[in-house]
Amino acid sequence: MLGIFFRRVLLAIPVLIAVASITFFLVRLAPGGPFDADKAVSEQVLKNLNEAYNLNAPLSEQYFDYMSGIVVGDFGPSFRFPGRSVTELIMTGLPVTFELAIYSMLIALLIGILSGVVAALKRNTFLDYIPMSIAMIGICVPTFLLGPLLVLIFGINLELLPVSGWGQLPGDKILPSLTLGFAYAAYIARLSRGGMLEILNQDFIRTARAKGLSESMVVTKHAMQGGLLPVVSFLGPAIAGLLSGSFVIETIFQIPGLGRFYVEAAFNRDYTMILGTTIFFSFMIVIFNLLSDLAALWLNPRSRDT
């Protein structure tokens, strides 16, 4: 397992370099620059601004400057926010995005696994059809619809919860976490149902039952370990997705997370910020995929020794 770990980490390095390089040249190819504004700046001012951010230098020189910077963890200054470095901006948004991801994942796991396992155990009954239909709706309904819908019901009509914010008013973290959690709960429910159904038909489960173990022991001790493998494999990409893809939720609920910085950087042509966040998200995706693969290996007795 250690070998796999090191091999994957080594593989990640060229991946990250490729991502950084491709992004560097792609953002430069995009029309429009960071200092284009509705009120046009004079040539003299534009020259001074480009000079201040080393944009007058040849592209190859800028590329090597940038790449040597990221080796030592320097992502450069943000063009959009003078006086702030990209690292600082990432570090400001990350804890919030991370917290949101954790809450959502907990909600998703709780609801998803519970309904998935129950559906598998009570196959072809109402306890199967109802949660699975809801899960189907959960997959189909986008967060940009579910979020405002929950806000309308719990925030505006019932006046129970704040409609936006993060850590500003009591309870303002509930609706965004639920919205994001529901979307992933739906996937997890379907995955755990599928996984459980497959395992419940296996011989070793029949043996366990034949031994006279109680149904709850059979399910929790034997079936779930294998039945939830697809969920574990899904967790890595899901957490990476939660970290990088919560832009919609962050926008709807006015959450100061990383997703908003990422998308706004692209609109603003904030070159260093686009690059910094892209590299950072790529790193996250690589890491979480690796972690979920390792967890799946550990859970799967057949592949543990290989």
Partner: protein, 580 residues
């Protein structure tokens, strides 16, 4: 965080309980204004930032020589208690407030203004508004002094050499270092001498004198723009150099300025909190204890926050919710004329559009009344001039008829018997539902009225800007919001060689008229000249005005001392929170 875990647990128990007190309710006691402020501000350095959200914040934090009138019109005393204008209108003498203090207790002196204005004019700072001061004698010359470029190059080489260890330097490099150090010093002295030629002087600690090239009657209004506001020299230098764009002086704890409020906290993409500054010269006037500025870029989110009692004032209102009877159905809605014009820009360098008859035909076949009634629907006003009516008492008398027959006639004269022999026309606009709707309406009007085949092209904001800048368009959507309350802020943009012209239209007579108006002291006479310029512009039609902007937003009834004005500047020192 722990609280949130508990809250998650009791979420369902909450159902059925009474609704909690909203921030707006508790503000009646706490006197905290909750302010929807559009996007996250770029920063708080008045010499670097641009934009409306930044302006709202800076209104609370800093103050220029004059301050904008909450009801619009004549400027009021700010950091200067009074001022005197010489008879020829070229020398402005400002007398600073005797009790004027920076938020750290230092007195505000005329020297602070001299240093601050020198800073804006220092090109290496990269301020985007140095032209605000180009009306001052020698200011443009100083800002474009080639010595700055030489200095910048020598400085960066010097920095490069100085970062090396002394024993790593070759003999040649050591010599170069010594020579560069001397050269840099010499250029700095030369530039400092060059600044003596700029018409900015501190007569004594409390007297600041400005000499202008021309009388520039709107100069006082221009001073209400944040780019001319002072910064605290010692604080800026403590956290960087004069021209350091990345200086940390604007961070909470470091920030020092001279406005009615102090910076208390700044959480990116969350909120900025400012608190009352008791050292402000007019602090008795200030009734609010704090203002919380929320950067909310999505108008629907902002609207929901307002409905849930989390905001006193919004920055905008979803246009999709605008109905003709909106004022009756929503008592919080505010709709006021704004000093901005929505227009279509014609590329006069384009073969077809270089003919003024074609431009006129297109402009005459737009039914502006219909656009504001059926498309924008938020109280916008049809525009028949570039300068919005009522800009500091200026009401243009130009007319743009909606006359399809005349338009057809003009097109025929230009050599297009029918619309079908007219080449396909492209309307460029930045991606936005509102712009798309207007473009669709114009497309339909041109197709129906003139038979012209029109294609709509929407582009991402930056792509749209860059295409406009290089003239890669035929007709493009545009908008212009005035920087200060004077027609000059509009008409000046269409003078030749102005970066914002973008139409390729250059008219020496128009240029002469606008320049002449700037040099004319008598306001009536000046407005007559500007009127001629406006008439000439509408006769040449390099742009087709469509409507005058209105500011549409929501304001809670507890907020008092908030007056509509054409620049939509709401000085927080006059705002109160009272529940009837």
């Amino acid at each position: 965080m722990k609280n949130n875990y508990i809250l998650f647990g009791v979420f369902f128990i909450l159902i059925g309980c009474g609704s909690p007190e909203t921030p707006v309710d508790s503000a009646v006691e706490s006197k905290i204004l909750h302010y929807g402020n559009g996007t996250e501000p770029q920063g708080l350095d008045p010499h670097i930032v641009t934009g409306v959200p930044e302006h709202h914040l800076l209104l609370a934090l800093c103050e220029g020589l004059t301050s904008s009138n909450p009801k619009g019109g004549e400027s009021l005393p700010g950091a200067a208690s009074s001022w005197k204008i010489s008879e020829n209108g070229k020398i402005y003498t400002f007398y600073l407030q005797e009790s004027g203090k920076w938020s750290n207790g230092d007195p505000i002196t005329a020297g602070d203004f001299v240093w601050s204005w020198q800073r804006i004019l220092t090109p290496t700072l990269g301020s985007q508004y140095p032209d605000m001061l180009y009306y001052v004698v020698g200011a443009e010359e100083y800002h474009t002094d080639p010595n700055f470029e030489v200095l910048s190059k020598k400085r960066s080489r010097l920095d490069e050499l100085q970062t090396k260890k002394i024993d790593e330097l070759t003999k040649n490099e050591l010599e170069e270092l010594e020579v560069l150090a001397v050269e840099v010093e010499v250029i700095e002295i030369e530039l400092s001498k060059a600044f003596d030629n700029v018409g900015i002087k501190a007569i004594d600690d409390l007297t600041f004198e400005v000499t202008l090239k021309e009388p520039t009657p709107f100069f006082l209004g221009l001073l209400s723009h944040y780019s001319t506001w002072p910064v605290h020299k010692e604080t800026v230098l403590k956290h960087g150099s004069m021209d350091d764009r990345n200086g940390q002086w604007t961070r909470p704890g470091n920030f020092v300025c001279n406005g009615p409020f102090n910076l208390k906290s700044w959480e990116l993409n969350k909120k900025i909190v400012v608190e009352k500054n008791s050292l402000y010269w007019d602090s008795d006037m200030v009734e609010l204890n704090e203002i919380h500025f929320y950067p909310i870029s999505v108008e629907m989110t902002e609207e929901r926050m307002f409905r849930a009692g989390q905001l006193h004032v919004t920055s905008t209102f979803p246009s999709s919710k605008c109905t003709p009877d909106i004022k009756e159905t929503n008592p919080n809605i505010q709709i006021h004329p704004y000093m901005g014009t929505y227009f279509y820009r014609f590329n006069t360098k384009n073969e077809v559009l270089s003919d003024v008859r074609v431009r006129k035909a297109l402009a005459y076949s737009i039914d502006r009344e219909k656009i504001v009634e059926s498309v924008t629907k938020c109280g916008q006003i049809p525009a028949y001039s570039f300068t919005p009516p009522g800009s500091n008492g200026f009401f243009p008398d130009t007319k743009i008829p909606y006359d399809v027959e005349l338009a057809k006639e003009l097109l025929k004269e230009a050599g297009y018997e029918s619309g079908t022999d007219f080449p396909k026309l492209e309307i460029l606009f930045n991606t936005s539902e509102g712009h798309r709707k207007v473009a669709l309406a114009v497309q339909q009007m041109w197709q129906q009225n003139l038979g012209i085949n029109v294609e709509l092209v929407n582009q991402d904001w930056k792509v749209y800007l860059s295409r406009e800048m290089i003239g890669d368009f035929q007709v493009s959507r545009a908008g212009w919001i005035g920087d200060y309350e004077d027609p000059n802020t509009f008409l000046d943009t269409l003078r030749p060689n102005r970066g914002n012209n973008k139409t390729g239209w250059e008219n020496p007579e128009f240029d002469r008229l606008v320049a002449l108006a700037n040099a004319t002291l008598d306001q009536d006479e000046r407005y007559e000249i500007l009127m001629q310029a406006e008439r000439l512009l509408i006769d040449e039609m390099p742009i087709a005005p469509i409507y005058t902007y209105v500011r549409v937003y929501q304001l809670h009834e507890d907020v008092k001392g908030w007056y509509p004005n054409i620049l939509s500047h709401h000085h927080p020192k006059y705002i109160r929170i009272e529940r009837d």
